[in-house]
């Protein structure tokens, strides 16, 4: 069972990728992309986890208490912010496509001209 969190990360990545590949709607595609990105949160946090350790916050625990890796937690924080920023940018692109071409179906984008 010790590899279950990693397997979960792989599963999230693949199921998100499946959604991206089969998507018929760009809004749905952006949601699938965020699912893919959540796999990286799970992977990062799992890599830094230490058995029977606390969060790396030492405000109310004695010095030297065993804690999980703060580096991967900081990376996850970066990851979440970037994920939201990119989702916002992609949704704005989807709005523009809908406005100018009247479709958010990626399969119909190939037919568009100008």
């Amino acid at each position: 069972m010790t590899y279950l969190p990693y397997a979960l990360a792989v599963w999230l990545f693949l199921v998100g990728l499946y959604g991206v590949v089969t998507s018929r709607n760009l809004i749905h595609l952006v949601v699938c992309l965020t699912v893919m990105q959540s796999s990286t949160y799970v992977l990062l946090l799992s890599v830094g986890y230490v058995n029977r350790a606390t969060a790396p916050i030492f405000a109310d625990v004695p010095k030297g208490t065993r804690a999980v890796d703060p580096v991967v937690q900081a990376l996850t924080l970066t990851d979440v912010v970037v994920s939201v920023a990119i989702a916002g940018l992609l949704l704005a692109l989807a709005i523009q496509l809908q406005k100018h071409h009247g479709t958010v179906d990626p399969d119909r984008l190939g037919e568009l001209h100008g």
Partner: protein, 246 residues
């Protein structure tokens, strides 16, 4: 390429990718058996060298501060991109949108929550290097309190609160201050974004040296970035509303 052919191709390559990914994670140390030295070192260094009790904040705003500056500018340019794509000439919002919340109870409760949420956000930003939180998390909570004004009142009230030039200014100031703090480190003869200032005593607001300044700069930049994101999408929505009404 037909849809079924594409799906078949995806099925084959995804199976291969799954096998490779599972093979590679099987090579990682078992879950909970962390082996890297950096986390352990930083957990004690954050307390001894920087006098902060939140090691994650020490990594984000100090040890990996330069990376966070990069992240800050990813957020900055993404919001800039959204604004470029969606913003038309309308600094003060769209006229003629009628989406006021009619229930007095909902308005009252919503606006009361917005105030409480704003305070919570500021608290999370301020104590970022002591307890869980920081400029990024607190900034998002502050932005949420502004969005709550839209949910509890209406678009016009939201737009009176979130005036585009003011929010743009806060966003620029936050992101700029982050970069300028790094220059101050250079002027003091250390590496870019190297910690400076008195370290203070652990567990109080006066601790962590320049981490406190970087933290507040990130809080400003992040809250303004998210308010701008909401504003652009809300403007878009309001413009559509106003058009269909006419």
């Amino acid at each position: 390429m037909s849809r079924s052919f594409r799906l078949g191709l995806f099925g084959v390559s995804a199976a291969g990718l799954a096998a490779l990914l599972l093979w590679s994670v099987a090579g990682l140390p078992a879950f909970g058996h962390y082996q890297g030295p950096y986390g352990t070192i930083l957990n004690s260094a954050a307390q001894d060298e920087r006098h902060v009790t939140n090691a994650v904040a020490a990594v984000v705003f100090d040890y990996r501060g330069f990376d966070t500056l990069g992240e800050e500018f990813i957020l900055f340019s993404a919001v800039l991109g959204v604004a470029l794509l969606l913003r038309e000439v309308r600094d003060e919002g769209i006229e003629g949108v009628d989406d006021a919340v009619r229930s007095d109870a909902l308005r009252l409760a919503g606006l009361a929550f917005a105030g409480a949420l704003l305070l919570l956000g500021l608290d999370v930003v301020a104590h970022g290097y002591i307890s869980p939180g920081g400029g990024f998390q607190g900034g998002v909570i502050v932005a949420t309190s502004v969005a709550l004004v839209y949910l509890a009142a209406d678009y016009r009230a939201y737009r009176r609160l979130a005036r585009t030039p003011a929010v743009d200014f806060v966003k620029g100031t936050g992101a700029g201050a982050f970069a300028v703090i790094g220059v101050v480190s250079l002027l003091l003869g250390t590496a870019y974004l190297h910690n400076f200032g008195p370290l203070g005593s652990s567990g109080t607001l006066a601790s962590g040296g320049s981490i406190a300044f970087v933290n507040v700069a990130a809080g400003l930049a992040v809250s303004a970035a998210f308010v701008l994101l909401f504003t652009e999408f809300l403007d878009e929505f309001a413009a559509t509303r106003a058009k269909t009404r006419r």
